[in-house]
């Protein structure tokens, strides 16, 4: 067994050993190991991609939220402004209406006062007339108790009519 001449027995055994080991390792070691490593790598790659996507989604959601919030704030301001306007409008309208109503009531009241005044005046006139007639009657009854007086009076009346 010199150093540089290959020994047949060892050559054959090495060949057999290499082929067997290659087949054994290929089936029982490399296949599952490489498969697992690839699986793990794709897992990690997927996880990173997912994390990145989620991060982007989060950022997008946040910006959306901010936009939404800004819009909500704006709407709130608008709503408040509208409410204030409406309030003012209602108040003004109410004031206007109240003024109109008040004027109407005042006018009606004046009319009523006038009519009642007129009625009262008419009543007073009637009463006065009646009283006058009564008093006149009484006076006349007194004055015209005698026949001559009656005739004198009629005569004056007739004179009066003639004058008219």
């Amino acid at each position: 067994m010199s150093l540089l001449t290959p020994h047949l027995g060892f050559f054959v055994w090495t060949l057999v050993a290499f082929v067997i080991v290659l087949l054994l390792l290929k089936k029982f070691a490399w296949k599952p190991i490489i498969k697992s490593l690839n699986e793990r790598e794709s897992n990690i790659a997927n996880s990173i991609a997912t994390a990145e996507r989620v991060k982007q989604e989060m950022a997008q959601m946040q910006s959306e939220n901010e936009a939404l919030l800004a819009r909500a704030r704006e709407e709130r301001g608008q709503l408040l402004k509208e409410a204030r306007d409406t309030k003012d409008k209602i108040i003004n309208e109410a004031k206007e209406q109240a003024k109109v109503e008040a004027n109407k009531i005042i006018a009606e009241a004046q009319v009523a006062i006038n009519s009642q005044k007129m009625a009262a005046l008419t009543d007073v006139k009637n009463q006065v007339g009646k009283l006058v007639i009564e008093v006149s009657e009484k006076v006349l009854r007194q004055e015209l108790a005698s026949k001559e007086a009656q005739e004198a009076h009629i005569k004056s009346l007739v004179d009066e009519v003639r004058m008219n």
Partner: protein, 362 residues
Amino acid sequence: MMKKRLKSFSTAVFSLFLLTISLSVKAGGGEGHGEKFDPGAAMLDHIADAHEFHFFTVGEGHDAFHATLPLPVILYSPERGLDIFMSSKFHHGEAIHNGYKLVGHDIVPVNDAGEADASVSVYDFSLTKNVVQMFLALAVLVWIMSSMAKKYKSGQGVTSAPRGLQNAIEPVIMFVRDDVAKPNLGPKYQKFLPYLLTLFFFILINNIFGLLPGAANVTGNIAFTAVLGIISLVVILASSNSHFWGHIFWFPGVPVPVKILMLPVELLGVFTKPFALIVRLFANMTAGHIIILSFVSLIFIFAEMTKVAGVAFTPVSIAFAVFIYIIEVLVAFIQAFIFTNLTAVFISQAIGDHHYEEDVHH
């Protein structure tokens, strides 16, 4: 933390390694006080394959006690048939068994007189220490990888964080996939990944086992690297396409005389590539072992001059040997990577030269 532990581990391993080596070197060098210590022979003896695991020898000659682990010898001879027995039957080269004798590390057929018989050819399929150690290393490799695969199947490392051994092995697998297979083979890498992973770990585990004290120099054996190189060649040729062959037989983009000149060069290149792989791994691993053994041998060379010189040189020798040993741990990984990476490069050349084609036609 891990690095520190690895360092102290390798130091501990190395001390043991030294112990076994020095004992056996001394045993080898000490045979017969008159003989000079031959470092070259001792080193070659240690990096060569053997029919037994030899740890140390006490005593000399026939009374010597050899601490060895005998291994089965399997011989096939067209003339004599199949013969299976334990290597202990040879009594370390002193006995003849069934007409076979151990000469050095080789088994030779002998006749009744005990002389080499040239008329009998014998094929040695023994489970030598390289074979046994390789089987052990591969059993460990298959056990580690299948237990890891089981963990992954149960979801650990997929939906949860990897734990324990997974953290040590997974980066290596990822390295082979992402830095060897993917850049060279592009989208077709998955087809070759099991082969490349097996190749890498096959070399790595045997490199590492070869560094254990008293272990065999498996990856520094030319037969071992030849198998891997030839398998690489087969894979390269099996995956080759018309571009690859067109490139070899009719080099595109050069004048016709150059095309003819390029043909033998390119054709030779097909075989030199795996041959370079074979020699590179063999030479690197063997060289590492030889350097460590050389530093240890220096102790005995100096000791042959005077005992004082031997003792004085021991710390220096050990320091250098430790340094080289740590480098060898690194080399174990680097050579596994280089072999795998170059195989991937060669496969990529075989499966497609599309870039080149575009360059030529535009």
